[in-house]
């Protein structure tokens, strides 16, 4: 009997290597489990082979498998080529279990913006799994996949990992190819691993990362080391007071993070308060200008001509306008219009130009901190998973979910979430941020802390 709730990808590989289970048995164990979370938009049959199964966020293009980006405008879209990350997974024998639910075009923090209905949280079905990668998070947490790929623009891997109680990495910008991935905000989008533990996360990162001739923003990546560290001797941890004291952080979240920091000290790390005054205060405003501006340009490609939905009209312009009105949901429409407004004549300098300068301020503040610290730590999300429907009618309240994940994204920095405890019976996530290309250091620290914390990733209601 394969316990899909607990089995790690590394454990699965061991079972396969020792021939204790066949590839078909392993695939069937996941594929046969009922999806009570609306985690998958599309489930695949066993493609054969003996590799580890994996779930893929439906933002990532998969040859011959529908890729909707959670949008009606791509409802019938079937890619004719694989994204580079998919080609990399296949080269390692990984087998696709299916495509996971996402906020439309990865725009959201709860998966409620999916055109195919919200995903829900395996810890409590009445609550959100986070977003935009709530489907991948729910699949991994709920035993429907050993691991998954997500994508992160402003927190879409880290925040769902926090809310569902597992590990997620947003890699350094440029380390993972975006070729074949549905574009949202190109200077921010990064694909990354979603996993049950830190070693699986590192292993999956080693599979997908590296320079790609098809994505000129990718760079050479240091060799990935699977972490074995059990202590944190000599590690300098900075704790930005703003990221641990912004309004809206729940007391139970603060308590779990404080306990994790005490554990880190007991493992040999030094913990010191520091400050990111403007990154936290201005990060969300900066992000919600830069990302929509880029999105408004990227989403102009959905015009009913080459692929995707078409709604007929009497002339070309009418066809495009009707197609886009029918095909896009509210959140992409809001972001397209904000972005268009921010880039339009007369407003460009005041909005987009200013936001790009704020981005420099955020980058510099982080660079200064990394002269004194190896890693900076905060909660990943100010709250535990909130009830489905609680914030859906208030876009600004929804945007504030991302206040702690956004600043490092703007600076292109890697960020890792590990679960650090429970509050009100729901997982609390710890965010570790490092300098660019410091993934190995993040894995080491996260692995040591993970061992010390001993968090049980199986949702209590499923144990």
């Amino acid at each position: 009997m394969i316990d899909t709730l607990r089995l790690t990808a590394e454990g699965a590989k061991e079972l396969l290597d020792k021939k204790e289970v066949s590839g078909a048995e392993l695939f069937a164990a996941y594929a046969g489990r009922e999806d009570e979370y609306n985690a998958f938009l599309h489930r695949c049959g066993d493609p054969g082979g003996d590799g580890i199964p994996i779930a893929i966020k439906d933002i990532i293009g998969t040859k011959g498998i529908p890729t909707t980006a959670g949008s009606k405008i791509l409802e019938n879209y079937v890619p004719v080529y694989d994204a580079t990350v998919i080609a990399n997974c296949k080269a390692h024998g990984l087998r696709i279990l299916g495509k996971t639910n996402t906020d439309e075009f990865a725009m959201g923090s709860s998966t409620e913006n999916s055109a195919y209905g919200p995903a829900c949280n395996p810890w409590d079905l009445s609550r959100v799994p986070g977003g935009s990668g709530g489907g991948s998070a729910a699949a991994v947490s709920g035993g429907l996949a050993p691991w998954a790929l997500g994508s992160d623009t402003g927190g879409s891997i880290k925040q769902p990992a926090a809310l569902c109680g597992h590990v997620g990495l947003r890699p350094t910008y440029g380390t993972v190819s975006r070729y074949g991935v549905v574009s949202f905000a190109s200077s921010l989008d990064q694909v990354g691993p979603v996993a049950k533990n830190v070693r699986d996360c590192a292993y999956l990162y080693s599979i997908i990362s590296g320079r790609d001739a098809n994505d000129s923003t990718t760079v050479d990546v240091p060799a990935v080391e699977l972490p074995t560290a059990e202590d944190l001797k000599g590690l300098r941890i900075g704790v930005p007071k703003e990221m641990n004291g912004v309004a809206g952080i729940e007391p139970g979240v603060t308590a779990a993070v404080s306990r994790a920091l005490e554990l880190a000290e007991s493992l040999g790390a030094s913990v010191e308060e520091c400050s990111l005054p403007r990154s936290v205060d201005y990060g969300v405003a900066c992000y919600y200008l830069v990302a929509p501006a880029e999105a408004s340009a990227n989403l102009s490609r959905y015009d009913g001509v080459r692929y995707g939905l078409r709604v007929d009209g009497d002339d070309f312009r009418e066809m495009i306008m009707r197609t886009r009105d029918a095909g896009f949901g509210d959140e992409p429409k809001r972001r397209i219009m904000i972005g268009t407004y921010a880039l339009s004549s007369g407003y460009y300098d005041a909005y987009y130009g200013t936001a790009q300068k704020v981005r420099t301020v955020i980058r510099r503040e982080h660079e200064e901190l990394f002269q004194r610290f190896d890693v900076i730590v905060s909660p990943t999300s100010p709250t535990v998973a909130f009830p489905i429907g609680a914030k859906i009618d208030d876009p600004v309240a929804m945007y504030m979910n991302d206040v702690l994940t956004i600043p490092s994204c703007m600076a292109g920095l890697p960020g890792l979430n590990i679960p650090c405890g429970l509050s009100e019976g729901l997982p609390v996530g710890l965010q570790l941020i490092g300098p660019q290309f410091a993934e190995n250091a993040l894995f080491r620290m996260a692995h040591a802390l993970e061992q010390a914390i001993g968090f049980d990733v199986v949702p209590e209601r499923l144990r």
């Binding site: 079937v78 004719v80 080529y81 910008y173 440029g174 200077s187 001739a213 000129s216 923003t217 760079v219 201005y282 405003a285 900066c286 919600y288 200008l289 102009s300 015009d303 009913g304 001509v305 080459r306 692929y307 995707g308 939905l309 078409r310 007929d312 009209g313 002339d315 070309f316 312009r317 009418e318 066809m319 495009i320 306008m321 886009r324 009105d325 896009f328 429409k333 809001r334 397209i336 219009m337 904000i338 268009t340 407004y341 909005y351 130009g353 200013t354 936001a355 790009q356 300068k357 704020v358 981005r359 420099t360 301020v361 980058r363 876009p395 600004v396 945007y399 600076a411 292109g412 660019q436």
Partner: protein, 94 residues
């Protein structure tokens, strides 16, 4: 910060090629005003000596060898097209 007008919503929607219903215009007028108010916070900082950041990595000129590579076949290119006429995507008249 002034709220945006119905005319501004319609203007932006037209620029973005979105045909909005009456109900959508009213809803988005409210929501976009709230969002713009929140993001206008970026103008509080003194940024006179700060250069813009367009990209998080300092890389430039990613060169590639100029050699032919296999590309998609015509049928693959048109596989998802809503309408096709031979080698062309067919659309309503401009």
């Amino acid at each position: 910060m002034a709220r945006i007008t119905k005319e501004e919503v319609l203007h932006v929607a037209r620029l973005a090629r979105l045909e909005l219903s009456e109900a959508e215009v009213a809803k988005f007028q409210e929501q976009l005003s709230d969002i713009l108010e929140a993001i206008s916070k970026v103008s509080e900082l003194d940024l006179s000596d700060v250069p813009p950041t367009a990209h998080p990595l300092e890389i430039e000129n990613a060169w590639a060898e100029d050699v032919p590579r296999p590309c998609l076949s015509e049928d693959e290119v048109f596989a998802n097209a809503p309408d096709r006429s031979g080698d062309y995507f067919r659309t309503p008249p401009a």
